[in-house]
Amino acid sequence: MAELIRFGFIPGLSIIHRLDPRVKLFLIAGVSICSLISGPIGLILAAILVAAVFPMAGMQITAIIRAIRFLLLLLFLIPFFRGLSTPGESLFCYQSICISREGVIAGAILSSRLLIIVVLGLVLTATTRTSQIRWAVEWFLRPIPFLPHQKIGTMIGLLVRFIPVVLNHAREISAAQICRGIENRKNPFYRTVSLCMPLFRKIIVTADRLAMAMEARCYGDLKTCRVCRISTKDLIVLGLVLLICLMMLIV
């Protein structure tokens, strides 16, 4: 089902792949927040950082553009709409509708902020396995009281595991129905219902089996966790990126 999930984990041995997932998650959240607050010069710094990270992560520009093309369109429209709605020095006029310069600049800054955050998210997706992300989330949620971090971690793991299951079941059922001549029925409502109902039945049975298997294997909250140590390399990267964040905020 790789065609539906256009952007997933890309195996590799780069420095970003080998970073501790907690450090990665923390840094990406940090840079995202800083680029929301910082001014234009800080944004250029963040853009340089992102451009430096790209080749290391082993991603291709075309793949990224294909993955976020729709969001990209949305982001390109922000300056246009900001220009329409903000009063100021007019840049371009058509009859009585004017696009103001201030609005376009403000919109461009906002959309480049969002673009940096989106691309950083893609870097994380491309270089971190699901299990690592899950573990890092669990680790970050641990100090928060009244929040069952193990359950949340398990749910994230199960969520990612269930997506291909659902898609595969849907494909199987639609193939089986095509074999039996569902194409002859022209009514789209009938076809949707006859696809959905067996699909729901099947995935509920699958979920039930999974729950039973987990019960049989004595699943509980107090399971042993994986152990991961923060190395010197992680600390160096942490320090460097935090320095860049600080510079972004000051400039």
């Binding site: 949305l74 969002l114 989106v118 969520l159 509920i204 729950a211």
Partner: protein, 209 residues
């Protein structure tokens, strides 16, 4: 002395594990957890089936959020949507067009995503108390869908800097017909799926215990 202490700690740990296992497997919370994860996965699959429309794509997410509320009840439905958002925020590819990351949550359509949490909670809250009657549930679903827009439209307005009227035209009116269809579909599916869920999933462990 130290060994005795270690042994004692070991016994305490085993007792904790036992209590934990008994509570999780007999009160059906493990089963609910698995089903909540399943609904979260369905929401993610619903996000992949997106019809690109400007500025907010038509997605099947709403349908599955409503369905999560109807099938899981308030708390687990909200947990299911919350975990979905958390997984997306941490960069797992679960949002529209297989995207992920904080950018989607902060981006133009982020408000709708946050609006799903109260939406699922309200539907679940009503369906727990309405004894599975159709009418209150449909009303709850209509109210809950309005909550999604109450979060999504001001967000869209803020990011694009549009007027409220324009934001409504771009981010709410085109979807109302689709929402009515989704609500009808959710009510229909829930009616047919519920016996199955009760048989296979959420009630079985209660019978055993």
């Amino acid at each position: 002395m130290v060994q005795g202490k270690k042994l004692f700690m070991g016994i305490v740990f085993i007792q904790k594990v036992e209590q934990d296992l008994i509570s999780m497997t007999t009160d059906g919370s493990l089963r609910k957890l698995v089903f909540a994860s399943l609904m979260a996965a369905l929401i993610a699959v619903g996000a992949y089936i997106a019809i690109p429309m400007w500025p907010v794509p038509i997605v099947m997410q709403n349908l599955f959020v409503l369905l999560a509320g109807l099938l899981l009840g308030s708390r687990w439905a909200a947990a299911s949507v919350g975990v979905y958002l958390l997984a997306g925020a941490c960069g797992l590819p679960v949002f529209a067009h297989g995207g992920g990351g904080l950018g989607h949550l902060i981006g133009p359509t982020g408000g709708y995503l946050f609006g799903f949490v109260p939406c699922a909670y309200i539907v679940g809250f009503v369906s727990e108390r309405s004894n599975q009657r159709m009418m209150p549930e449909v009303l709850a679903m209509i109210a809950a869908s309005l909550f999604v827009y109450a979060a999504g439209v001001p967000w869209l307005k803020m990011i694009y800097g549009m007027s409220l009227g324009k934001a409504l035209v771009a981010g709410m009116y085109p979807f109302l017909i689709g929402d009515a269809l989704k609500i009808a579909a959710a009510a229909y599916i829930a009616r047919r799926i519920r016996p199955l869920v009760n048989e296979f999933g959420l009630k079985r462990s209660k019978i055993v215990s």
